[in-house]
């Protein structure tokens, strides 16, 4: 739709253009006079026509209203008159009333409708059929239809609508009046236009006259090019302004015209000047071109030289050998030939940098090489300084140049050298030597190309030096790597190296063997590829932790090899790069399963032992307590028996015969023995029961006391072999030990002259005591047995012995961490040894000290 509308617009535009444009064009070409007249006329006419049209429309509307009013009045009157006729249904009367409408010829028909809408009575104009009816039926009001006006009015009687009157009239009277009005308006228009024409033809001159005058002046100016002409001003309106501006414009044009003429003259002089300038420039250009040509020739020569130099360098560069000496020989030779120089040499600093050593010297005239010349640096400080400081030392007159005249007397003059060009050799930015070019004959100026070439030679030698150095370093590296590989390969421990993400980078043969792969297959794998998942997780967690903390760790963990669960000890350490960033982890681990098992077995055993000991201690204690209780309880009735026996002997001595007395004596003896036995048992069981009573004891006095208490018989000699130590011990127990051992020796002495020797030897952490006698001796089979309770080798009756002494000794010594044993030969004597630990080590000593202080 919008598109269509647009098209329509375009068409309208076209149409307008088609009609209006020619009219406008026509108007444009008219004279101003006619234009003005035309405008006035058009304005007048159009306003008149508009006024006429409005008047007509107004008239038409008014007429219509009037007609409606007139007809309505008629209908109203008829309705009123027809009331009775309708009320009493008198159609004839009604028709009579209606027929009064005949007076007005424009009335076409009239109908009277009764209440039920039927036609009750009618009036019809002569030219109208009696069946004609109005187009529609309204109760009241009017309507225009088909050039007629129909009016309806209700017939109301006493508030009751009895029917409707309908009146139809044609509009002829209205049209007649309108026609007459149009005629009048046309006539007025004609008269008005005539008047307008006459008036406008006079009035337009007021405006057109000055404009026409101005046009005449302009025409004159443009045709005759006479810019001094001016238009005359008649009035002060816009036209007056126009004339003023026109005159002003003419003045400007006049000025510009004269300026243009003078500018033209100036331009000509400028052109002449430029032409002479250009000629001069041209001559200069010609001179320049000649100079350039000359320069080009020089350049060409130089280029040739450079090409020669380049080819030499290229040839030198092609030398395949890596032998430094032969490279230098070739270099000096080629260098000398290329630059046409008598002597070329290469010198390198020695290790100390204190002297230069000639590696190769080529003399061209002799075509010979030599080497080994030496030159001390301290002899030529300025020269060395120059080498350090500059890229090249080019001396045209070597004898006078301050950098080289140090050599003048000793070297240059003797060799006939006049010019020198020395290039320092630098390796890693450090001066390592020099390439010397020495010219003989008349002095020589070193061109830039030659200097460049010499520098290139030096660079090449530097490169070769560097290469040889690198070769050496590489060799060293290879050897070191080989050593390292051998180490890795042969070490039984498993070694690996992982990157930051715990991905294997390398491992050693031993580990690869475990993993059942080749060493080079490990790269890119992870623990998940080799180990059960939970183990791999644990390993990787360790890795992550160690890399995060950056601290090496030693870990014991599980490991599965060939389906066998092992325990390994792993040492993992983070690997850092030069910037100290952690880039991976290095690990080494080994199997500790066997050791671990042993440890565990040992631990288990220890535990068992501990329990056993505990049990033993407990049962021992119970036994001791039992023995003590028994012995203690036995003592009382025994004493009673002894007392009773005494009483019996006293009271009944006269009644007993000898046999009876003898038996009583036997009884008393037995009671006494029994009492001794019980005392011994009590003593024995006392050991370890009562709290220890430690004190510092000087054994020398203690032994003397013990012997004095024993009171040995005269035929027995007791000897103390050496000075005895001071020990920390329980006095009573130690007394018991010595008394028992010495007492035994005395008791069992079978020789007429008995000899007992007491000795002591200091060992690393214990004392070893010995008590030796020359008694009957003991068979080897009894060595163990004698230390058991109630064991005597001789019958009771022979020696008054209970068989508890040695057991007591053993018990005491062992209680204090020592041991007791016997060495003996039958009939030659026995030696009893026992040891006592020195209480001078660590905590035990402190414990003893504490006990001593406590006075226990």
């Amino acid at each position: 739709m919008p598109k269509e509308t647009k098209m329509n617009n375009v068409e309208v535009e076209k149409e307008r253009g088609g009609i209006l444009n020619p009219a406008m064009r026509l108007m444009r070409n008219m004279a101003i006079k006619q234009k003005l007249m035309m405008i006035i006329m058009l304005t007048c006419m159009s306003s008149l026509i508009l006024a006429g049209a409005v008047f007509l429309i107004w008239e038409w509307a008014t007429l219509r209203q009037d007609m409606v009013r007139d007809l309505s009045t008629q209908a109203e009157m008829i309705a009123d008159n027809c009331k009775a006729a309708l009320a009493f249904e008198d159609a004839k009367d009604a028709e009579e009333i209606l027929s009064a409408l005949r007076i007005e010829p424009s009335n076409i028909l009239a109908c009277l409708y009764n209440k039920s809408g039927e036609v009750f009575a009618g009036y019809y104009r002569n030219d109208v059929d009696h069946t004609a009816r109005p187009a529609s039926l309204l109760e009241s009001g009017h309507l225009f239809s088909e050039g007629t006006l129909v009016v309806f009015r209700p017939v109301v009687l006493d508030g009751e609508t009895l029917g409707t009157v309908c009146l139809q009239s044609d509009l002829q009277p209205m049209y007649t009046r309108l026609e007459r009005n149009v005629q009048i308006i046309t006539a007025v228009l004609a008269l008005a236009s005539l008047a307008a024409y006459l008036l406008s033809s006079r009035i337009q001159q007021i405006i057109s006259a000055p404009i026409l005058n101005l046009a005449d002046v302009a025409k004159t100016v443009s045709e005759e090019k006479e810019y001094s002409t001016r238009a005359i001003k008649h009035s002060n309106d816009e036209v007056g302004l126009l004339i003023d501006s026109f005159n002003g414009m003419l003045g400007q044009i006049q000025e510009r015209d004269s300026a243009l003429v003078s500018a033209n003259e100036k331009l000509e002089t400028r052109v002449q000047e430029r032409t002479s300038e250009l000629t001069a420039t041209n001559e200069q250009l010609t001179r320049e071109i000649a100079y350039r040509k000359k320069a080009e020739e020089v350049l060409k020569k130089r280029t040739e030289q450079i090409i020669h130099h380049q080819s030499t360098l290229l040839e030198l560069g092609k030398i395949a050998t890596s032998d430094l000496a032969s490279i230098m020989r070739a270099t000096t030779e080629q260098d000398a030939k290329t630059l046409d120089i008598e002597r070329v040499s290469i010198w390198l600093f020695g290790v100390e940098k204190s002297e230069l050593v000639c590696q190769d010297l080529y003399k061209r005239s002799e075509d010979s090489h030599e080497k080994g010349l030496r030159m001390k640096a301290e002899d030529c400080p300025r020269y060395c300084q120059a080498l350090e400081a500059s890229r090249i030392v080019a001396a045209e007159d070597a004898n006078k140049d301050p950098r080289t005249n140090e050599f003048a007397e000793e070297y240059l003059q003797s060799e006939g050298i006049t010019s020198m060009m020395d290039v320092p050799l630098r390796l890693h930015g450090e001066l390592v030597g020099v390439v010397c070019h020495e010219h003989t004959g008349s002095t020589r100026e070193w061109t830039l190309e030659e200097q460049d070439f010499a520098a290139s030679i030096a660079d090449m030698i530097t490169l070769k030096l560097e290469a040889s150095e690198r070769r050496k370093a590489e060799q060293a590296l290879r050897e070191s790597e080989h050593r390292y590989r051998t180490l890795l390969k042969n070490i039984p421990q498993k070694i690996f190296y992982k990157d930051r993400d715990s991905v294997y980078l390398l491992c050693n043969e031993s580990y690869a063997e475990d993993l059942k792969i080749n060493v080079d297959e490990v790269k890119g794998k992870t623990d998940y590829d080799f180990h059960p998942k939970e183990l791999a997780n644990a390993y990787r967690a360790d890795d992550a932790r160690i890399m995060a903390l950056g601290i090496p760790e030693e870990i014991e963990e599980k490991y599965v090899k060939d389906g066998q669960n092992l325990i390994i000890r792993t040492l993992k350490s983070p690997v850092r790069d030069e910037q100290d960033n952690i880039i991976g982890i290095f690990g080494i681990f080994w199997d500790i399963t066997a050791r671990k098992q042993t440890e565990q077995a040992l631990e288990r055993l220890n535990k068992n032992l501990e329990t056993t000991v505990q049990e033993l201690t407990r049962s021992n204690k119970e036994l001791q307590d039992f023995a003590y209780v028994i012995a203690h309880d036995l003592k009382a009735p025994l004493r009673a028996i002894g007392t009773l026996a005494d009483w019996i002997v006293t009271d009944y001595s006269d009644k007993f015969d000898e046999q009876g007395k003898d038996q009583m004596r036997l009884l008393k003896g037995r009671v006494a023995r029994m009492s001794g036995l019980i005392d011994s048992i009590l003593q024995y069981s006392e050991i370890g029961r009562s709290p220890k009573h430690l004190e510092k004891l000087n054994l020398n006095t203690l032994i003397a006391d013990a012997i004095a208490e024993i009171d040995p018989p005269g035929n027995i000699e007791i000897v103390i072999e050496n000075e005895l130590p001071v020990v920390i011990f329980e006095r009573i127990r130690l007394m018991q030990v010595f008394q028992n051992l010495v007492g035994n020796a005395i008791t069992y002495m079978d020789k007429p002259q008995g000899k007992i020797r007491i000795g002591c030897v200091e060992e690393s952490n214990f004392w070893k005591f010995s008590i030796a006698d020359n008694g009957p001796g003991i068979g080897e089979q009894y060595f163990e047995k004698i230390f058991k309770m109630f064991q005597t080798l001789v019958s009771r009756d022979e020696f008054e012995s209970i068989g508890i002494g040695l057991a007591m000794v053993k018990k005491i010594v062992e209680l204090y961490g020592g041991s007791v044993w016997v060495e003996s030969k039958v009939s030659e004597g026995s030696t009893f040894f026992f040891t006592l630990p020195k209480h001078d080590i660590g905590a035990k000593d402190a414990e003893f000290e504490a006990n001593i202080v406590a006075g226990r």
């Binding site: 009331k83 006729a85 009367d93």
Partner: protein, 205 residues
């Protein structure tokens, strides 16, 4: 929708109206005739002016009374008109016994008879055929009280009645006695007079 709704309403209304129309058509020629006459009686009121006290009584709600004396031939012809107002007032129908019975039932002085008083207060008095013998007496007793006397018998006007119905070409027409009307102080509008078949006027003669 609205059109259909209107259609329905019209149909329903026509159903209500049809039976009454049918009933009316069924009625006898006589009842049809008196239905028209009843309507005409109403219409007469509209075209006739009564003296002041009856036209505009003190009590504006006082109905207009139509009296019927004698044997009533209208039957229920007034039924359709019952609700109708005329001149803004209700209309009531008052029926009276025959003139003879009126006098018989009461021995009072006939001029002072209370029933006669009532009749005198009526606006219209329709005198039935049965009272043909007493027309003169009836008219005399109400003369001057502004009662419009209507009848439907020959010679009614001549005996002093004001309006008489007659039938012409099966149509109900009427005639006036203007003198009688004047005597009863009644004015008949010209619109009504135009329609009269015959107008008696002594003065003209």
């Amino acid at each position: 929708m609205r059109i259909r709704a209107y259609g329905l309403i019209i149909f329903a209304l026509s159903l209500l109206v049809l039976p009454t129309v049918a009933l009316a058509q069924e009625g006898s020629v006589q009842s049809r005739e008196y239905q028209i006459k009843a309507a005409f009686l109403y219409n007469f009121i509209k075209f006739i002016d009564w003296p002041k006290e009856k036209e505009r009584p003190a009590d504006s709600n006082e109905p207009i009374a139509i009296g019927i004396i004698g044997e009533d031939p209208f039957g229920d012809s007034f039924e359709p008109l019952r609700e109708k107002q005329v001149k803004g007032r209700n209309v009531i129908i008052k029926r009276f016994e025959g003139f003879e019975q009126l006098n018989e039932s009461d021995e009072h002085d006939e001029k002072q008879h209370p029933k006669i008083e009532t009749i005198r207060k009526c606006h219209v008095l329709f005198i039935c055929l049965s009272e043909k013998m007493y027309i003169q007496q009836i008219i005399d007793s109400i003369q001057g009280y502004g009662v419009l006397t209507v009848g439907d018998m020959e010679g009614f006007l001549e005996t002093g009645g004001i309006i008489n119905f007659l039938t012409e070409e099966k149509k109900i027409r009427f005639e006036f006695n203007l003198d009688s009307a004047e005597r009863s102080k009644l004015t008949i509008r010209s619109k009504l007079l135009r329609l009269a078949k015959r107008v008696i006027r002594q003065k003209d003669a």
